[in-house]
Symmetry: C2
Subunit: 204 residues, 2 copies
């Protein structure tokens, strides 16, 4: 389900505000009680809206989760974009991609808000927000590789597609909340080690 399909888009600003209120209340609720084992009824009871009222705006719990998830992932991509813009070379951009992704993901999914539950469901069940995020990460990887090849920082013998697919595979465990959780204690150090390995593989 894409955001364009959500009913709120055609319901005007007043409904928008009500919809945002539900999303904010749901985000607070899910970050305390988890996403998987709670229902729309639980949520409605806790936040003081009627279940029918929530269903006026969202067809399912997943639809609420999608909006929360999309908002979290947008925070990560914005943070990554800002960090990448400051990195002066493709080499530093590649290090930055591994580092910032790991730090931002760790903070968002595990520390600040404990939205791990939603992120894990999104990743496991291939929600559209998770798929868009993955596509964005792949494109960002390709853009850094292309920049590095053009600047003579990276080798050009290996087909770009092949290199991009392989680098993305190395990066993926740090983009996926479930895999990130499995090695959270060492994730930052591991990501920096992997960036160094990837950069050695890209040497001209």
């Amino acid at each position: 389900m894409t955001e364009q399909k959500l009913p709120a888009a055609t319901r005007g600003p007043s409904d928008h505000t009500l919809r945002d209120q539900i999303v904010n209340a749901a985000m607070e609720y899910f970050s305390h009680y988890g996403f998987e084992k709670t229902t729309v009824s639980d949520l409605a009871r806790s936040v003081g809206f009627s279940k029918a009222y929530i269903y006026k705006f969202f067809s399912s719990k997943q639809e609420i989760g999608e909006v929360i998830c999309a908002s979290c992932l947008t925070q990560i991509t914005q943070r990554l974009n800002a960090a990448l813009e400051e990195a002066p070379s493709a080499t530093e951009k590649m290090q930055c991609l591994f580092q910032t992704l790991t730090v931002a993901g760790s903070e968002l999914f595990f520390r600040e808000r404990r939205l791990f539950d939603i992120a894990a469901a999104a990743s496991r069940d291939r929600w559209s927000s998770a798929e868009r995020y993955e596509a964005w990460l792949r494109e960002t990887t390709v853009a850094i590789l292309r920049e590095g090849r053009e600047a003579g920082e990276f080798e050009r013998k290996t087909p770009l597609d092949e290199t991009a697919a392989a680098v993305y595979l190395v990066l993926r465990p740090y983009a996926d909340p479930v895999q990130l959780q499995a090695a959270l204690d060492t994730a930052k150090e591991d990501a920096s080690r992997l960036a160094a390995l990837v950069l050695r593989s890209l040497a001209p």
Copy 2:
């Protein structure tokens, strides 16, 4: 808990045989009904031993799981050792490590016996069999790197420890049943792509 601590070691051949019977029956049982949600009582009822009889040989369900897990992981290490012996160079050994690990793990955990449940518990709860397996994989990685450095196939500028730690991080998702499951459809192709990236990073 190590195998040396198990009581059967001091009970003579007859008990050994009885213990093996229980392990074989348990392996069959767990591969059908799973490991996590079954109990020693379920197992006893199904295989026709009394619960007390099983507890004569094993102090807990995990202890039975440990023996099964150790036996599975031994199968993988034997298969890997045989494949590595046939690989004529360190470069081919590195490709072989990624390929064989992925194929053997996929077959053992997901196709042949569906022992995924036990392997996942072993990995998540850091059973001693899983830790020994991880240590063996790390040592094998170091041995291949050392061979390649001595033969002039691999670069020697990066400290060996650093390279080994990074290569192991790339390899790890294919050694871990939970991570392997997340991308099982493309695991073989992915592993080959990652081996190629690792080999580019090792180029002298």
